[in-house]
């Protein structure tokens, strides 16, 4: 599947704490609710209600350790999803949020040096099957690491919750190994 849209490019480390700031860590986990203040700590520009969500970005492009700093809160993922983000491309991801992203079916796609070839506002096209990312604005092409089959399976089930619920209902939960 190909997805096209506008990207926001990070200029330094993007910390989980700044994606969802402290007052919202215990908010209900909800796409719309969490999107209202998502990225508020990342830049002054986004530090207002729907400051990031209203920008119409489809992709985030970042360097190393995206969503690092070690928070387990899932609002980071639901907030980005609620704001319309369809995938995040980065050199590397912090593992806690990488895990959460898989569990919610938001693709965190590893792609070396992509931040060096994109500017905020560029139009990107991502082919989720081949992992090819095209920057339609400047013509650059990147080869990302394709999604693992397990990641696709969870995403297609609509996230880990649905994946597990279905198996409990079917009586096939003990088959997991």
């Amino acid at each position: 599947m190909k997805i096209t849209g506008k990207c926001w490019v990070a200029s330094g480390y993007v910390m989980a704490y700044d994606i969802i700031t402290q007052p919202f860590w215990t908010s209900p986990i909800d796409l719309k609710e969490n999107a209202r203040w998502v990225m508020a700590g990342v830049s002054e520009e986004f530090n207002r209600e729907n400051g990031f969500a209203s920008q119409g970005y489809t992709f985030i492009v970042a360097g190393h350790n995206f969503a690092g700093g070690g928070k387990s809160i899932e609002h980071v993922i639901t907030g980005l999803m609620g704001a319309g983000i369809k995938a995040v491309f980065a050199d590397s991801f912090a593992r806690l949020q990488f895990r959460n992203a898989i569990n919610y079916g938001l693709p965190f796609v590893t792609c070396k040096d992509i931040a060096k070839g994109c500017h905020t506002g560029d139009q990107l096209e991502w082919d989720s099957e081949t992992g090819v990312i095209r920057n339609l604005t400047n013509g650059k092409v990147f080869q990302a690491v394709p999604l693992a089959p397990f990641v696709i399976e969870i995403a297609q089930a609509g996230g880990l919750m649905n994946f597990i619920r279905k198996r409990i209902a079917e009586g096939t939960i003990s088959d997991l190994h």
Binding site: I29, G70, S72, S92, A148, I164, R165, I168, L176, H177
Partner: protein
């Protein structure tokens, strides 16, 4: 076929496999699942969303009140009431609430809820601490925790292992925290340790007590690693005696196990280290920051709130007074730590030196409880993170160091190398 690392063996053993290889995805059995007051209600809500009303094993879901106790405001008090209701509703056997509380990771290890050769997960990022006893400790979100509470399993990607062989002698007043910070400064957040299993080994580790091992494994999450682990030895066996009656398997890495990288570190070259404000990977030897003034000192947290940490502080502060411009807050990591430090006289020494002692909790570490930072504060902390706003105000600066550095520095109101003190 090459041998396996301890992390690979633990995952293989707990997923019914003879062997696993890095990159493989497995569903593994968990020994215990920890959740705490702050995210516990979310975790139980997810469990209910799965349509499950009973946890897989009431003895293996460990509930701890640590972020919110005692409640400083109505919001926290109400959250705690809901949390207690949910814990009771599920007939959880091991509930460590106010009066019996401690920081969850301290409780998990101290009370024998993590065992060598097993997997334990928790909804707080410093669950990596459990590697100190040779367990695979892993931090997860509330969804993963809820799934594990329902079915006793979680999915894991087998990580590549990276070995740090630690040789040489520990300098006096150099602690496991300094080694953690040294590795942080050496590796930075460049992606090299992300998802990795970090295995600490060598004679420097063999000589380290359990408190130091917990510090070291605790901060592997801040290096970006999946887990940090130290293979069980006599220190481990001695520590676990009296804490558990369960049998465990002291798995070890094979001599021909495969490591993605092996780093050798020489303790003779490692002195006290300090992480400078706003970036945890901006670590320098103490010489580069000596003399910087600060107004708040903080020792506690799952990283450095143990008896051994308070002992070294008491040694440094005995018979002295901390600088009048410094507010020092000390928060033992658990009620057991509190009691032991009290009986040994460490708390009396610290109070006589002018430190304030607070009830065991996560305190100001995450900026939500006692001792938060205000505008203009410069804090020297023995905690684990120093991002802008971490302890409260975004207009505060946090330096991170060992408890020994905090204690020595508190005497002068400026960052001071504890090795300079002439100790009688």
């Amino acid at each position: 076929m090459p041998g396996m690392t301890i992390t690979e063996k633990i995952i293989a053993r707990n997923s019914g496999r003879k062997r696993v290889t890095p990159g493989e995805l497995v569903w593994a059995n968990v020994h215990t699942v920890m959740t705490m007051d702050y995210l516990g209600a979310q975790t139980f809500a997810k469990l209910h969303e799965l349509g499950v009303r009973e946890v897989f094993d009431r003895r293996r879901v460990i509930c701890v009140s640590d972020h919110l106790v005692p409640p400083p405001n109505e919001k926290f008090a109400t959250m705690l009431n809901e949390w207690r209701r949910l814990v009771r509703e599920h007939h959880i056997v091991h509930f460590y609430d106010l009066g019996n509380q401690g920081i969850a990771h301290q409780i998990m290890v101290e009370k024998g809820h993590v065992l060598p050769g097993t997997i334990s997960i928790g909804t707080d990022s410093h669950a990596n601490t459990y590697g100190a006893v040779g367990a695979l400790g892993n931090a997860v979100g509330v969804t993963d925790a809820a799934v594990a509470m329902a079915i006793g399993k979680c999915w894991l990607r087998v990580p590549e292992s990276v070995q740090f062989i630690v040789r040489g002698e520990w300098h006096p007043y150099v602690m496991a925290k300094d080694l953690s910070l040294y590795v942080m400064g050496m590796m930075r957040w460049n992606g090299h340790l992300i998802y990795k299993a970090i295995e600490y080994t060598g004679e420097g580790i063999a000589r380290l007590d359990m408190a130091g091992r917990m510090t070291l494994c605790n901060m592997t999450v801040d290096l970006g690693a999946k887990n940090g682990i130290i293979a069980p030895d006599n220190v481990t066996r001695k520590y676990l005696r009296g804490r558990t009656t369960e049998r465990y398997v002291a798995l070890q890495s094979d001599p021909d196990a495969n490591y993605e990288q092996v780093y050798e570190l020489d303790l003779n070259k490692i002195g006290p280290m300090v992480a400078r404000p706003h970036r945890l990977d901006d670590v320098v030897p103490i010489e580069e920051v000596e003399g910087i003034p600060f107004n708040k000192a903080f020792v506690g947290t799952c990283t450095n709130g143990r008896v051994e940490d308070l002992a070294i502080m008491a040694r440094i502060l005995k018979g002295k007074r901390i600088h009048p411009d410094v507010n020092m807050l000390v928060v033992p990591a658990s009620q057991s730590v509190y009691l032991e430090a009290m009986k040994k006289g460490y708390l009396a020494t610290l109070v006589e030196a002018g430190a304030a002692i607070d009830t065991p909790s996560c305190a100001a570490c995450a900026g939500i409880h006692t001792g938060v930072a205000g505008d203009g504060d410069v804090i020297l902390s023995a905690g684990n993170r120093n991002m802008q706003g971490r302890m409260g105000s975004k207009k505060a600066e946090i330096y991170l160091s060992s408890p020994a550095v905090v204690a020595a520095s508190a005497l002068y109101g400026k960052i001071t190398d504890p090795r300079r003190l002439s100790l009688s």
